[in-house]
Symmetry: C2
Amino acid sequence: MAKDLELVLLLDCYGELLTPRQRELCELYYNEDLSLSEIAETQGITRQAVLDSLRHSEKLLRRTEAQLGMAARIRRLRRCLEEILKEAQDMETIAQLARDGLELL
Amino acid sequence: MAKDLELVLLLDCYGELLTPRQRELCELYYNEDLSLSEIAETQGITRQAVLDSLRHSEKLLRRTEAQLGMAARIRRLRRCLEEILKEAQDMETIAQLARDGLELL
């Protein structure tokens, strides 16, 4: 299973729909960048159990994105705010507002 | 049941989590601004059935917002982009970018 950076954003958007346990394993794998074996060892479960849980979570996160499309919306909006920031680099008020906006994403 | 404009935003964010039928009734009520009786009449169901469906949908939409908070995020970001637009009214490139951003919300 190759790590997919898209999943980091999906986890940020929809992680609260997972159980605390599923979310914990996803965070260790996608955010803390631990390997399957490292997670298995620290959590006292098999590597296969970690893999099954991650696959299940990934399926739920992707299905939710297919329904709601929030991650795609955030990605487009982020590009838009980054453009504003670039255009506004000598205009401190606008630049600060764009930074504020980026922090909200 | 007083109409709640918050629900319009929640419907935009999470409407795809409802069944097509639930979504249709919500759209008639919140977006088309029909009354319960008008919806009941055009849909050939009782006013009580419309009310039950709307209440059920509202509960799901509010629970999802409590979990994901996307509507609150969008509301804050909208204010931020509106501020950029105000600051940038004489700077056409930035203003256009802010307008593009607002259209994404």
